[in-house]
């Protein structure tokens, strides 16, 4: 078989798997979205209040904490995977929770990876809001909470970028969830159904076993998800900037 034919055949089979909504492929996609989605929602709920707190308070060591956040934005996924593994392994400090090789463990790992990114990007967006807007809000008789609200609204584009960047990090990551998730599939009836196997870990396992069509199918879905996320972002930016002109 020629190399082009081999790729062509793999690609066609991959498309068939996606179009026919193959239950295995579908379940893997669902686990990916559930894990990365939950991690990002939890990360957002942690990061935004923290970003607001950091942006509106001055304290000794603030520059230092910002340095730490920037460092944490680039944490290596395999390192985080190992850290979480040691934390929740049977003999680890949180071993009694029996979390290892469950979707919760994967969410925990991705939460640790995504939160600093959401926090860091949101924080710089909040801090970039011009001082005169804050001053104006105050001078118009706003209370402190009103001022915060106005600044958050001004920075919403940057905050959204942070959330989407966090999501992008989560769905692209494989090192951490492979270590703490275990890449597990159940057989229910006679159908393979993902338990902790995601698009990224599925690509590793399918490619390793030479199941090229499946690997390509997962790759297509993964890239599509990243694409959709970016389209949402770009659309939002366009609409936002148009709205801004009309003001």
């Amino acid at each position: 078989m020629g190399s082009m034919e081999f790729l062509y055949e793999g690609f066609i089979k991959a498309l068939k798997l996606i179009i026919s909504l193959d239950p295995y492929v579908l379940s893997v996609t669902k686990v990916q979205l559930a894990v990365s989605g939950t991690a990002v929602v939890l990360g957002t709920l942690t990061a935004i209040p923290l970003a607001i707190l950091l942006a509106f308070t001055k304290f000794p060591g603030k520059a230092m904490s910002q340095g730490l956040i920037t460092t944490a934005m680039g944490l290596p996924p395999v390192g985080v995977g190992l850290f979480v593994f040691l934390l929740i392994t049977r003999r680890g400090p949180l071993g009694f929770l029996d979390l290892l090789y469950t979707p919760s463990a994967m969410i925990l790992a991705q939460y640790i990876l995504a939160t600093p990114i959401i926090l860091g990007v949101s924080l710089s967006a909040l801090e970039e809001v011009p001082q005169k807007i804050k001053d104006m809000a105050f001078s118009l008789g706003g209370r402190y909470s009103d001022v915060i609200w106005i600044v958050v609204k001004e920075a919403k584009l940057g905050i959204l970028t942070g959330i989407l960047a966090g999501f992008g990090r989560a769905i692209a990551e494989v090192g951490a969830i492979l270590t703490v998730g275990g890449n597990i599939v159940h057989i229910i009836g006679s159908q393979e159904v993902s338990y902790t196997r995601t698009l990224t870990t599925a690509i590793t396992v399918e490619a390793r076993q030479g199941n090229i069509p499946e690997a390509i199918a997962f790759g297509i879905i993964l890239i599509s998800l990243a694409f959709i996320v970016n389209v949402v972002l770009v659309n939002y930016v366009m609409r936002f900037s148009k709205g801004y002109e009309n003001v």
């Binding site: 049977r90 275990g182 597990i184 057989i187 338990y195 390793r208 076993q209």
Partner: protein
Amino acid sequence: MRKLLLAILILTLGCITRPPIQSNCKLVMATTTSTYDSGLLDQLNPVFQEKYHCTVEVIAKGTGAALRIAKEGNADLIFVHSRQREEAFVAEGYGVNRRDVMYNDFVIVGPASDPAGIKGLKNVTEAFRRIYEAQVPFYSRGDNSGTHEKEKTIWKLAGLEPSGKWYYLLGMGMGETLTIANEKQGYTLTDRGTYLKWKDKPGFTLQILVEGPVKGGDTRLMNPYGIIAVNPKVYSNVNYEMAMAYIAFVTSLEGQEIIKNYTINGEHLFYPNA
């Protein structure tokens, strides 16, 4: 600085084009994770390399993947354990000169508490049936490896189709599967070699509950290994000469002695039968 740039240039070009002169002899072996994880190849390959001045590159993945790699012309030699598929590989014309090398056996390992009550059973299908009925966590390789193939055969022999949330398919190697099964205190089918290598790792507590034929258990748990050269008529670029040399080496008295003498903590891992 100039040297650095030169090094980068060479590395970059090296990625794009293959080196024009083949200065080094290289033999690519596709094999199972068990020959590699058990440490046996670390005993055999240095001796071969010393003798033939040819580097052995090992791709350790599981029998299914090893066969596929070889079928695609990306290996010179396969060293695997699935008699049926080995014979098919030769029958389809991909391989020549299949030889028996050695055997060991499979065992069922599980937690000391043994909730399925299989300890000491001499009948492997009965053990599988009890695990099935107790619905206790069972961790399957799930990667079409020789071990996974063996496991599926035993389920079939037992007349059972495993299904449900107690049955975990991992898609991973034997070592990783043992690590996960140990962490979750579940059952798994493993080759004895990898188990022996794993059992002294910190925190590893799984025990052999059902023995294989090496220790007087069910003969259906026999695990024979074979070696096959990739047919040079199918892929002319394979290193057929060195593949044949390796087969001759591993089945020779010297190779068989190395296999026989390889022990971990005094336990033999493989039994030569060339």
